[in-house]
């Protein structure tokens, strides 16, 4: 379990992370989503002990990253952004180096090596030089090195950036598999990526957490709105305007007069469902309801509005 408590990081005058707090449970796959420069990598670097927080703390199973960084680092596997590797080393040597630092030797190492080679599909390239491997392989080599000691916690910073679609699917499958036994925290600036892989999404914007929940929860969040499209025959505009007085939970966003019918757009909060009232109102007025269609905002709209790029990007 990871507890992030009021974590902040300043780079000089720039506040990269502003007092964020959240808790991650074991065996959970969590996506850390935000635009570039939102503070994702900085947060991950603080969790892994690469950076020291300006204030706040990271607590993992009762240990904190400021006083017990070595103990915490033993439990974490970390794949940094851009996946740096020693290109002159052989894959085997690189994995052995990580294992030795983790105190895994001899027979134990053989077992660990076999496991990560199978998990990350590295068969056939173990004796190759890292620099000669393709980008997809390199990503998996980095991942294999980060989990050679079978850590409880895996922290992956943009694990799929720069990969082709087939490689992305492979890494995604691997992460899902790992998430059954580990706590996986991965970051991305690509929503689709996160949505396809994780159980829970934390959205960060300008160093602050703006949303936290499963993708369904984020969509049906009570702050979210549902749009209702109506097409009505025989209606008049005045009566449509009056609908708001009868059904207070709705907001009329547009009324569009066609040849015979009127197209009306309404909005209401996800926490209520006034569709029955709208229907009854039409019946009472003896209007003919040709169409009634509700649409929830999708995650992409939510992400855009939360990260401050709302309307302009909506098209």
């Amino acid at each position: 379990m990871i507890q992030i408590e009021n974590l902040s990081k300043n780079y000089g005058d720039v506040k990269a992370v502003k007092s964020i707090s959240f808790t991650l449970e074991d065996k959970e796959i969590v996506g850390f989503l935000g635009a570039n420069g939102a503070g994702k990598s900085t947060t991950l670097k603080m969790i892994t002990g690469f950076l020291t927080p300006t204030s706040g703390n990271v607590i993992i199973d009762g240990l904190n990253i400021i006083d017990d960084s070595q103990e915490i680092q033993k439990q974490i596997g970390y794949l940094p952004e851009l996946n740096p590797l020693y290109s002159e080393m052989k894959v085997y040597e690189y994995l052995k180096f990580h294992a030795e630092i983790r105190g895994i030797k001899g027979h134990e190492f053989k077992i660990a090596l076999e496991k990560v080679v199978v998990d990350c599909s590295l068969q056939g390239i173990v004796h190759r030089t890292i620099g000669e491997c393709s980008k997809g392989y390199k990503q998996r080599i980095g991942l294999a090195a980060s989990m050679i000691h079978n850590p409880k916690i895996l922290i992956l910073d943009e694990p799929v950036s720069g990969l082709d679609p087939n490689q992305i699917v492979e890494i995604r499958r691997l992460i899902k598999k790992l998430g059954k036994e580990k706590l996986v925290l991965m970051s991305s600036h690509i929503l689709q990526e996160i949505q396809a892989t994780v159980d829970r999404i934390i959205i960060i914007n300008q160093g602050e957490i703006v949303a936290d929940g499963s993708s369904e929860e984020l969509i049906t969040d009570s702050k979210g709105l549902t749009q209702l499209h109506l097409e009505i025959l025989n209606a008049n505009e005045n009566d449509i305007q009056n609908m708001k007085a009868i059904i207070p939970s709705i907001t009329i966003s547009s009324i569009d007069k066609q040849d015979n019918s009127i197209i009306v757009s309404l909005e209401y909060s996800n926490s209520v469902d006034p569709r029955k009232d709208v229907f009854n109102y039409c019946v009472e007025k003896e209007w003919v309801l040709l169409e009634m269609r509700a649409s929830k905002r999708n995650l992409e709209d939510i992400f855009r509005s939360l990260t401050g790029k709302g309307d302009s990007a909506h098209a």
Binding site: L51, L82, L85, E88, E93
Partner: protein
């Protein structure tokens, strides 16, 4: 200890899997050999003193070249982030890397033993004790210069800058006692004590004084400590 060894092995392997170590050893041996034999027959003495004068000068360029990439390269390719998030102390990283570079330089130094064995064959009345202390002194100077080099390497992610800063630091230590005439008398003693050449010449004369050993040990310790602090400082960046 076990982590130092792991880092040491990794660094040494990376020296020897690239052509770098071989080029270094060959060129070092050739340069020393050229300068040594150049004047050897003029003096007509079975003496290695001239070799012990040449090696520190060759060190000035060769040691910063070996040490320049030790940390700066990790910074430039980003692997420093992996290193620093593994459960190892920064101190162990620095010591492991330092010992690996020093090993390569000592191997290079020992290629010059070739001249010693030649001397045994052709020379007469060789002072073996002086040869031993001469090598000890050169090994200690290599220790100081390598420590300065790894410190320079920790300051930047650019290997060329690390190389030049390394040369600059090493040059200061090398030149200090040659510039004594320009220094006020009150400071001369301190400057002389800080100079590597002063201590090297003491040892080379065959006097192993604890003051000289303390000097080498503390300068090496100082640079390794500073390197560790520079590495740790990234956390607060």
């Amino acid at each position: 200890m076990h982590n130092i060894l792991t880092i040491y092995k990794k660094e040494l392997r990376s020296f020897f899997t690239s052509p770098m170590a071989y080029i270094f050893l060959v060129v070092f041996a050739l340069v020393i050999g050229y300068f040594f034999t150049n004047t050897f027959f003029l003096y007509n003495q079975s003496d290695m003193r001239s070799l012990f004068g040449i090696v520190p000068i060759v060190y000035l360029f060769f040691i910063p070249a070996v040490s320049m990439g030790l940390i700066s390269r990790e910074k430039s390719i980003g692997t420093i982030e992996i290193m620093s998030t593994l459960p190892i102390l920064e101190r162990d990283i620095v010591i492991g890397k330092y010992l690996a570079a020093l090993t390569l330089i000592l191997v290079a130094l020992f290629t010059t033993l070739f001249h010693y064995f030649t001397l045994i064959q052709v020379g007469t009345t060789i002072d073996h004790g002086a040869v031993f202390t001469g090598y000890l002194g050169l090994a200690l100077v290599a220790g100081v210069y390598t420590a300065a080099g790894i410190f320079a390497s920790s300051l930047t992610e650019n290997q060329v800058i690390a190389f030049i800063v390394g040369i600059a630091i090493v040059l200061v230590f090398f030149l200090m006692d040659k510039l004594l005439v320009f220094v006020p008398a009150s400071l001369a003693g301190i400057i002389q004590y800080l100079s590597t050449d002063f201590h090297l010449s003491n040892i080379s004369r065959g006097v192993i004084d604890s003051r000289n050993i303390v000097y080498f040990g503390s300068v090496i310790g100082f640079f390794l400590f500073m390197t560790t602090r520079v590495l740790e400082s990234r956390k607060w960046g």
